[in-house]
Amino acid sequence: MASLLFRGMLTHPPILDCIPSLFSRNVCARYYRMGTITQAHVATQESQSSQLKIPPNARNNSLERLLKDYEAIIGIETHVQLSTLTKAFCSCPYNYGSPPNSSICPVCMGLPGALPVLNSKVIESAVRLGLALNCKLSFNSKFDRKQYFYPDLPKGYQISQFDIPIASAGYIELDLPLEFGGGHRKFGITRVHMEEDAGKLLHSGNGNYSQVDLNRAGVPLLEVVSEPDMRNGIEAAEYAAELQRLVRYLGVSNGNMQEGSLRCDVNISVRPRGQSEFGTKVEIKNLNSFSSVNRAIDFEISRQALLLSQGQGDQIVQETRLWEEGSQKTITMRKKEGLSDYRYFPEPDLPEVILTEEYVNKIRGSLPELPEMKRRRYEEMGLGMQDVLFLANDVRVANFFDAAIANGAEVKLAANWIMGDVAAYLKNEKLSIDEIKLTPHELAELIAAIKGGTISGKIAKEILFELMAKGGTVKKLIEEKDLVQITDPSEIEKIIDKVLLDNPKQLEQYRGGKTKLQGFFAGQVMKATKGKANPGLLNKILLEKLNS
């Protein structure tokens, strides 16, 4: 009997407790929430990238047509898992993927008599994100209990914030990718509040029982609720991507969607253009990448617009739908049976959250340059939007670029090298820019060496590869490998003379009219100089000699 497996968490904490998996459909709707998220973690292995790779022409044409008559209203609720060392209300560490129930204590297990004590880093993270989202902060907020029963919720309530979120009424600015038409957007942020995560249910293969893993229970989250300002999939996906960029810039979360550190739930309704009241709202869950956000929304817009255009608007009901990656469709997960009553009330175990002007100013002063500011600054530096978006996308790349510029590298050249050879190397080696041996200073040196004519672009590529893989300095590599470009005309002349002398037959053919052989001679000179001859000088002198 599965229920016999139940006992024993206290005596053997690492052992999973099992719950008879008798939750048939409708018995407990939340079951699906957890179940599907777990499944999706296994199923999707999409690469983690803030930039969408779907070309715009993949969007279906019927959608384009329908959208002439209908418009979608989209809002997003995002849960950002904070990367604090310990959980929100106890001193358990949290590490994604650690063995079930290996990071739990009386507090996050909800044992009788255990009490929550707030981790102050949670407030700091909330204030950082609140400020970065241009929000108004509540200097006097509090925690509330949100009450419902579910086996992954040990206390029978979630500690959250209800009527007074720590931050509200902000906005986020972003630039749409050029392949999607580009453009600058500003979307409203309704609120940011602090709460704790629930545990996870693991369901047995045969469906006879379920097990509870409380490692994630009590991990701090920030819930970010947007205004319903998005109108299509790409705007929504870019909103989420910008939010990810922001939390990574701020260092409050790793923003990893696959690990569930950034979870998006989308609310979407469609109405005929010109109509002022909203259509019926549908929620979409199980969105594990930005491209699934984009595709799920566009699918849902088509579905709803099609129903509306066929006079079947009544088939759009308030419900939660699930994005199925395999079939590229949304399917009904559960219909809303009226509003849930969570019986919120102020959490009596925690004091009010009081922020002082001084505390907030200190945090404000410590904020890094944020993505939007970076993009505007890069634009002012004269970079094109393509470059701006690429460089500002990843805070590590942006910091590398900024450091290279600070070391004197020319803006456009630095951008080209980073976006070209460096990016290609990172992609091939599956590394991030702070994992390679190349330093911004050496990139600046390398660019200076090319500009100063010390080395050729070709040699520079070789050196760059060496710098990325093994490290070292440009100066030393050039010296060690004797790679300094030969720019002394007399030296080049000497070598050319020798090449001409060594290849009398070819010289004869050239002079007989086979001028294509110029390339052969140039090659021989390069060979003899190990590529160090200045190409301009070489060709100039060679031509003179050949034609003399």
């Binding site: 206290l10 008599g113 509870v212 019986r343 009330f345 009596p348």
Partner: protein, 549 residues
């Protein structure tokens, strides 16, 4: 075997000055003060005749080597076992008492320091977690549950040498005023075993009353320490909210719950409070305020002047002497007021117009919080789980069979009060009333040093008398709930008797102080206790045994 037990009659009239217990001062009130505490403590025996304090008497016996901790423990245990069949104060009795006593004797024989509670047997209410004993909260749903940790208060008692003798009976999760609401047994009042000991800390009160242990811990959400103290004729101390860590106390109503102390004297209750008070990093609502050395006030009566409480302003809350109060109780309280007057106090009647609002506000707030706090008892991770077909039935069956009727009623009331559409009318309004009450107490305590009232409208009533009349039972909490709503400290101590039982039934006087001013309550209470004339508060159940020993 009761040789070491001294009748309070003989203890009460000795007039030697007490040595102050420096050890229990605030200087070591941090979470990590385990082994160092005893080093700070005066290891010379306190004077032999230690007034009515059992704790000081035990300390004297140990440090003067007159008695061993084992002898003291054996004596107390034998009395416990003798009286327990009549009382049912305990849900669990520790099997390691004598071993722990032996450890103390071993330390003493090696001339090592022992803590100020060394050899003191402490009863612990069963809703306070103990790592080495079951902790059921008096509920079937936690039958045989053993917590993996000690409550902070228990941990501190143990660190100071106290021996937890067992877990005392209570109304399930502290919800009740008679201890009849326990899922396991009904506790009797030592003054009349056909009567209730009060509740919800009835087991802790009865155990101290019958000297089954020296002192005990209880919890007080709406009067659960003070009313049973009154019913059982012992001293009950409800500290200021935040004075004592709630970590390890099974939450009933988190914003009202406090761990409190029982003793057979004000000194004992005060010494125990000193031991468990202070900030705890595991309870965000515990106060950072320093804990004064309460024990400096526990001097003998011959150190008192003619008017030891000269000028102390005492407000008698007139709403507490209304028509609903037993005339015997009223006259005992008036007599107590006169006694205070003789001690130099200035007695004035004060009116708290919001007083009667306390009861409905309390029952809404306490029920609301309890409906949330008891959600964790779902049968999933610990406690009794009832097998079922489906998750909702699993929850339903486990809770239906695990909780008693009173608990279910409060969960239902609280769930209702917090529901959408009712929140404003109930929970929110009750919070507003709470603010009004807090302000009215604040004003009254600006005018007066302490306020006094009965601890309960009547003395102990019969078992079963109010079992089927919850409203009558709730009404009995009228004297105490306001104090919890205001978060104030209050001391209840026996002040007289009314007719009833074989030898009369004790009546308790409640003294209410300003927030974190337990010190004043203990000082006034001690002087009151030491100067009170008349028969002493030893229940007949053990008075005869003491006489025969």
């Amino acid at each position: 075997m009761l040789s070491t037990f001294q009748s309070p009659r003989s203890l009460s009239r000795l007039h030697l000055p007490l040595r102050p217990l420096k050890a229990l001062s605030s200087s070591h009130r941090t979470a990590a003060t385990t082994t160092t505490t005893s080093a700070l403590i005066d290891q010379s025996p306190p004077p032999a005749s230690s007034l009515s304090s059992q704790i000081l008497s035990i300390r004297h016996s140990l440090l003067s080597r007159e008695l061993t901790a084992t002898q003291l423990a054996e004596s107390c245990l034998s009395r416990l076992l003798l009286t327990e069949p009549h009382l049912n104060s305990f849900l669990h009795i520790s099997d390691s008492v004598l071993r722990e006593a032996q450890e103390i004797d071993d330390r003493l024989s090696r001339n090592e320091d022992v803590g100020p509670l060394a050899g003191v047997l402490v009863g612990v209410k069963d809703n306070i977690c103990t790592a080495d004993m079951p902790s059921t909260g008096g509920s079937r749903i936690l039958e045989s549950y053993r917590p993996p940790f000690d409550a902070t208060a228990v941990k501190r008692v143990k660190e100071l040498g106290g021996i937890v003798v067992g877990k005392t009976n209570l109304d399930e999760f502290g919800m009740g005023s008679t201890t009849e609401g326990s899922a396991y047994k009904v506790t009797s009042n030592p003054w009349d075993v056909s009567r209730v000991p009060g509740g919800s800390s009835g087991g802790s009160a009865a155990a101290v009353s019958a000297r089954q242990c020296a002192v005990s811990l209880g919890s007080d959400t709406g009067g659960s320490v003070r009313q049973p103290a009154s019913f059982c004729g012992v001293v009950g101390l409800k500290p200021t909210y935040g004075r004592v860590s709630r970590y390890g106390l099974m939450a009933y109503a988190s914003s009202l719950d406090v761990i409190g102390c029982f003793g057979s004297s004000v000194a004992d209750a005060g010494i125990l409070l000193g031991a468990i008070s202070g900030h705890d990093r595991l309870d965000a609502t515990s106060s950072h305020r320093g804990v004064p050395d309460f024990s400096i006030h526990f001097t003998s009566a011959d150190t008192f002047g003619a008017k030891p409480l000269e000028g102390l302003r005492v407000g008698l809350i007139c709403e507490t002497l209304d028509s609903g109060v037993d005339p015997g109780v009223t006259s005992a309280v008036h007599a107590a007021a006169s006694h205070l007057e003789e001690l130099g106090c200035v007695i004035k009647e004060v009116s708290l117009p919001s007083f009667s609002l306390g009861l409905p506000a309390y029952y809404i707030l306490a029920s609301s919080e309890s409906s949330s706090n008891l959600s964790r008892y779902d049968g999933i991770r610990y406690g009794n789980q009832v097998a079922a077909e489906g998750l909702n039935s699993l929850y339903g069956n486990s809770r239906a069979l695990g909780f008693g009727a009173e608990v279910k009623m409060r969960i239902l009331m609280g769930t209702y009060a917090l529901s959408a559409g009712y929140y404003d009318a109930y929970y929110k309004r009750a919070q507003q009333v709470r603010t009004v009450i807090r302000n009215s107490f604040k004003a009254a305590l600006d005018e007066n040093d302490i306020l006094i009232s009965p601890a309960a409208p009547s003395a102990a009533y019969r078992i079963g008398e109010k079992k089927n009349d919850p409203l009558a039972m709730y009404a009995g909490d009228i004297m105490t709930v306001n104090v919890n709503l205001a978060g104030l400290p209050a001391l209840v101590l026996p002040c007289g008797f009314v007719e009833g039982g074989p030898t009369g039934l004790p009546v308790g006087l409640q003294m209410i102080g300003a927030a974190f001013d337990e010190e004043k309550l203990l000082k006034v209470g001690h002087i009151f206790e030491q100067t009170l004339q008349g028969p002493k508060f030893v229940p007949p159940l053990i008075a005869s045994e003491v006489a025969s020993s």
